[in-house]
């Protein structure tokens, strides 16, 4: 369970996140939708405590991020926008490194790694050094290491960026699987169809503010638009930056 209240973050004169509030529930997929530069990545960075908000609060499973950032990070699995791997380590070693940083013992790391490798269908690449991995193989490895500690909450920043059709499909299946395991899944995207296909709830962000937060059906009803695309364009105020 992730709750965000009146989040605000500025960089000098630039207001990246103005006033963002929403919650992402367990057993649901919540989509953060908005055009490029709307403040999605900054919002997520505040969630996993890489950045400190100027004001507002973030709580994860009831823990305040400002008070105990380490505990919050322990409850989060994060796939940031930056997903670089250590190219001289194998995929399995990359995963194990994060497991050790979470303080897991070697037996748990082995068991969890095996489970993630099976779930992400990456047994063939696990013993290989990550240098020369394809975009899809890199994302799989980055997700496996992000979830090595079996977190209740999963945050993914544009997880399908750069993936081909097949990889995108399996990514969606994987997110549904996380949901069915009862986890709280929060991901950002600027691709409308993706959000529409996956999400139980949609939070639409534009210019650093939440302009709507509801189920896809409710959004359609709210705007009176016949399809989701028209609904989004209406909410955001322009169709600029919304990739179809």
């Amino acid at each position: 369970m992730i709750e965000v209240r009146s989040l605000r973050k500025t960089f000098g004169p630039v207001v990246a996140v103005d006033d963002v509030s929403f919650s992402a529930r367990d057993g649901e997929i919540t989509g953060l939708l908005g055009p490029n530069g709307a403040g999605k990545t900054t919002t997520l960075r505040c969630l996993y405590t890489l950045m400190q908000p100027d004001s507002g609060s973030v709580t994860v499973d009831g823990i305040d991020a400002a008070n105990d950032p380490l505990a919050v990070r322990r409850r989060l699995g994060v796939l940031p926008d930056a997903r670089g791997l250590y190219k001289r380590l194998t995929a399995r070693e990359n995963i194990a490194y994060f497991g050790r940083l979470h303080g897991l013992d070697e037996a748990t790391i082995r068991a969890r790694s095996d489970a993630m490798i099976a779930a992400l269908d990456m047994a063939d690449i696990a013993p290989r050094r990550t240098e020369g991995f394809s975009q899809g193989q890199r994302v799989k490895t980055a997700i496996a290491r992000a979830l090595i500690h079996d977190p209740n909450n999963v945050i993914l920043d544009e997880p399908t960026n750069g993936l081909d059709v097949m990889a995108t499909r399996s990514m969606r299946q994987f997110l549904r699987r996380l949901k069915s395991e009862g986890r709280c899944v929060l991901f950002s995207s600027h691709i409308m169809q993706e959000v529409a296909a996956l999400c139980d709830r949609i939070v639409v962000i534009a210019r650093g503010r939440v302009v709507a937060a509801a189920t896809p059906d409710a959004l359609r009803a709210q705007t009176g638009a016949a399809n989701l695309e028209d609904a989004f364009v209406q909410l955001i105020g322009s169709d600029e930056g919304l990739a179809a």
Partner: protein, 391 residues
């Protein structure tokens, strides 16, 4: 396992897999420096030996006016050569190091018992030539003194009356201390070894990791940043120290092939030197690794980091340069200055001079204090939000 250790082990393991960098930092650097050093010393020593043993080549203008003088010079291992067309020009063009000119009226003055002039033509700005001119001057002095003594004896006087003062020189330099001038660059070679050893990792683990987009996921782990920084710093320090250790060992081995003994120099490069040098280099290497990490973390990009770290390399050269050009007396306060204290202690150890325990203690304490400052500064840089986000 402690997160600090986890980061340390991972960085060391990852770097070890980069064979080319490991080879460069751990082998080429530490082995190359002592090799160059020995080469340098050999050249200097050979030159010294040549100066003393080789005949002095001497073009003489007007040799026919003073056959006795020329014959006397020949006996003193001087190689008399035909006169150049223009003596001054020959010296300026470095065709001759030194030229002797004897005037046509030499014999007239000599026979009258008056001072007969000869000219020594040389260029004092040429170090080697001015040494050769000194050799010639000494030979002429000897000849002059001997002839003067003979003239006095011919008049029934003792030559002693021309020597109211008798002096003897007692040179207090020991063979080690004569060698030390040559070796004052040595500490810099050790420092350079540590610098090269830590450089790749210092950049790679900071701005390199950021540029490869892996710093943000790393910082999303539930580990305080100072522990991550500590692990990275320790890995950098470990490689730098290995490099320094290899440098010291390589020097201890290669140093035995130095021809120092030929010119009456002995070097104290036994285990005592190696242990003492490593002891003072230990905190300094950690300090340099922190500074490298700090500078590299501060830089916006990998390239910028490389530029900064390379510039930083010149800082430790300053005391070594100072000492090799200007002889500076060791003073107590020098032990309290990082870099300078290592310079002083290693040079003194090499000369076989005494280094007080308080000197070691001051050097280590002051360097550790500077290390703590550098680490604190690096932590500050690491705590900033800007750090993780690649431009």
């Amino acid at each position: 396992m402690n997160s600090f250790l986890v980061v340390f082990v991972k960085e060391v393991r990852e770097n070890l897999r980069d064979r080319r960098t490991v080879l460069n930092t751990l082998l080429t650097g530490p082995l190359f420096a002592p090799f160059i050093f020995v080469l340098l010393i050999n050249t200097v020593v050979t030159q010294e030996l040549e100066k003393a043993e080789k005949p002095l080549p001497l073009p003489v203008v007007g040799a026919q006016y003073a056959p006795n003088l020329v014959a006397a010079l020949k006996q003193q291992n001087v190689d008399i050569q035909p006169a150049p067309a223009d003596a001054e020009r020959a010296v300026r063009e470095q065709d001759a190091d030194v030229v002797l000119r004897i005037g046509a009226d030499f014999a007239t003055y000599w026979n009258k018992g008056e001072p007969a002039q000869v000219e020594i033509i040389y260029d004092a700005s040429q170090r080697y030539a001015s040494g050769q001119a000194g050799r010639l001057r000494a030979l002429l002095d000897q000849y002059s003194e001997r002839s003067g003594a003979l003239r006095l004896l011919a008049r029934g006087l003792s030559p002693k009356i021309l020597k109211p003062l008798s002096f003897a020189e007692r040179d207090q330099s020991t063979p080690q201390s004569r060698a030390s001038q040559l070796f004052s660059m040595l500490p810099y070679f050790f420092i350079l070894g540590g610098f090269v050893g830590g450089m790749a990792l210092a950049i790679d683990t900071t701005s390199g990791e950021r540029e490869r987009q892996s710093l943000e996921p790393l910082l999303a782990n539930p580990v305080p940043r100072w522990q991550i920084l500590g692990g990275k710093l320790s890995a950098t320090t470990a490689f730098a120290l290995t490099s320094v250790l290899l440098s010291v060992l390589a020097f201890a081995v290669v140093g035995r092939f130095l021809p120092a003994g030929k010119i009456g120099m002995t070097l104290e490069i036994g285990p005592r030197f190696a242990a003492g040098a490593m002891l003072v280099m230990l905190p300094l290497t950690a300090l340099l690794a922190s500074l490298q990490t700090l500078v590299a973390a501060f830089a916006k990009s990998y390239r910028e980091a490389q530029t900064y770290v390379s510039l930083l390399m010149f800082v430790p050269a300053i005391p070594s340069m100072m000492f090799s050009f200007v002889p500076i007396k060791t003073q107590a306060w020098m032990y309290a200055v990082p870099l300078l204290s290592q310079q002083v202690i290693i040079t003194r150890l090499l000369r076989g001079d005494f280094v007080p325990v308080s000197g070691f203690a001051l050097s280590i304490a002051s360097t550790v204090a500077a290390l703590a400052l550098a680490y604190a500064a690096a932590t500050l840089v690491y705590r900033s939000e800007r750090l993780a986000i690649s431009a």
